[in-house]
């Protein structure tokens, strides 16, 4: 049992990393990774919601039939996100001001629906929670990495500390095109070293449930 839980975490971080391997949740990935801290904050908030949504959906998996699963999941996730948002705003306002604009974005993150659909709806509560944790950590690492690359190249800084003089900044990297460049290069490196990825033809890498989840719920 313990091994299975650890396997879920490793799976989320490496084998089925939501960003680099499954290519899920691309909209928040491209939109908010303008700096390291932004990527990290978005990753952590998504991870928290993912854990709770996986628990709830796993809990209700026998009640919700196949026909109504998508609207039911969306209602559950949206309720969860709104509750988190209001609680944060009331009790930890400093964190809310930092994360404010990202919290509503979590609802439309397809990793959450993807995991609900392909994992939580078929598995027990504890292992689903660990799946959410693993996926959340994997997502956080990916976003932090892309954020780091874009911040260094675009604004010449790491965590706000300037490391490259102003003359050598490539401003495009903090804008939308930079997000595509950074992601493309990171994915290209992955392909070069034949790491498992949805883009290098190794489609079996993400098991049975996952290939279909990409089709049903696109990024």
């Amino acid at each position: 049992m313990k091994n299975q839980n650890m396997e879920r975490i490793w799976n989320g971080i490496w084998k089925e990393n939501p960003t680099f391997v499954m290519m899920l949740g691309m909209c928040p990935t491209l939109a908010v990774t303008t700096s390291l801290i932004n990527g990290f904050a978005m990753g952590i908030s998504t991870a928290l919601v993912l854990i709770f949504s996986n628990i709830l959906i796993s809990l209700l998996r026998k009640v919700i039939s196949d026909n109504i699963r998508i609207p039911a999941y969306i209602v559950i996730v949206a309720t969860l996100v709104s509750t988190v948002q209001m609680l944060l705003q009331a009790y930890i306002p400093s964190l809310y001001t930092a994360l404010g604009i990202y919290i509503p974005l979590i609802v439309v993150n397809c990793i959450i629906l993807g995991r609900a659909e392909s994992f939580a709806s078929k598995n027990g509560i504890i292992v689903s929670a660990f799946d959410g944790l693993g996926m959340g950590i994997g997502f956080t690492i990916a976003l932090t990495l892309i954020g780091l690359v874009r911040e260094i190249l675009g604004a010449g800084s790491v965590l706000g500390t300037v490391v490259i003089p102003k003359e050598y900044h490539i401003t495009a990297f903090v804008l939308a095109p930079g997000a595509f460049f950074a992601l493309a290069v990171l994915t290209a490196l992955q392909n070069k070293f034949k790491a498992p990825s949805a883009t290098n033809g190794d489609t079996n890498s993400c098991g049975a449930g996952c290939g279909s989840c990409g089709e049903k719920i696109g990024g």
Partner: protein, 204 residues
């Protein structure tokens, strides 16, 4: 048989939605007051950064009327899509009015809304500005929050300010943030809206 299943599904979905609605309503009721209080204290802190020597910030009927009048007149000025949200008197311990803190906004920033707080002394010179809300590109428009840009406003006087790209701003000019002229203009025009209130309606 099939109809029964549809009804059952609909009922389950209905139940989930109702429970979600109840939870949301409950959380909203629970957190409403706390959220209100914390946003008031956050605003008070921003007022204090703009006007450190004031001890209290008071609403004034005349000022509120002047604000309404200015909001009606502002669209005909050349400041774009700007508006005033709030105007308060900054008073010291003895009750003397030191100046005014004005919340104004512009909808012309690169990413839409920018809301700022403008401190204006009683003699109509600028005390300083503080950015309340700005969701612009980090490294570009977001640099409006850095002292290098917003610090320029302190000490300026004049009825309206303009943005210059020359890098050497004159008395009634503000240096644009390089690569973010739109944001610079939006912030400056929101300041102009506050100045308009002072010059045309409040301090006659």
């Amino acid at each position: 048989m099939k109809q029964g299943r549809i009804l059952k599904d609909a009922l389950i979905l209905f139940t989930i939605t109702v429970i979600s609605g109840l939870i949301l309503g409950g959380v909203h009721e629970l957190t409403k007051d706390t959220i209100n209080n914390s946003s008031i204290s956050a605003h008070l802190e921003a007022y204090k950064t703009v006007f450190p020597d004031a001890v209290d910030f008071k609403a004034d009927d005349k000022l509120t009327d002047a604000l309404k009048k200015s909001n009606e007149e502002l669209p005909s000025q050349n400041y774009g899509n700007v508006g005033l949200d709030q105007a308060l008197q900054a008073v010291d311990k003895s009750g003397t009015v030191l100046g005014y803190v004005i919340t104004s906004h512009s909808n012309d920033s690169y990413d839409g809304l920018v809301q700022i707080l403008v401190g204006i002394n009683a003699d109509k010179t600028m005390k300083g500005i503080e950015i309340l809300e700005l969701n612009d590109t980090p490294g570009l428009g977001q640099r409006a929050e850095e002292p290098e840009f917003k610090g320029q406003f302190a000490g300026k006087s004049g009825e309206s300010l303009t943005v210059t790209k020359s890098g050497s701003a004159g008395a009634e000019e503000i240096n644009a943030i390089s690569g973010a002229t739109i944001t610079s203009r939006a912030v400056t025009n929101a300041v102009n809206a506050a100045l308009y209130l002072m010059y045309h309606n409040a301090l006659q």
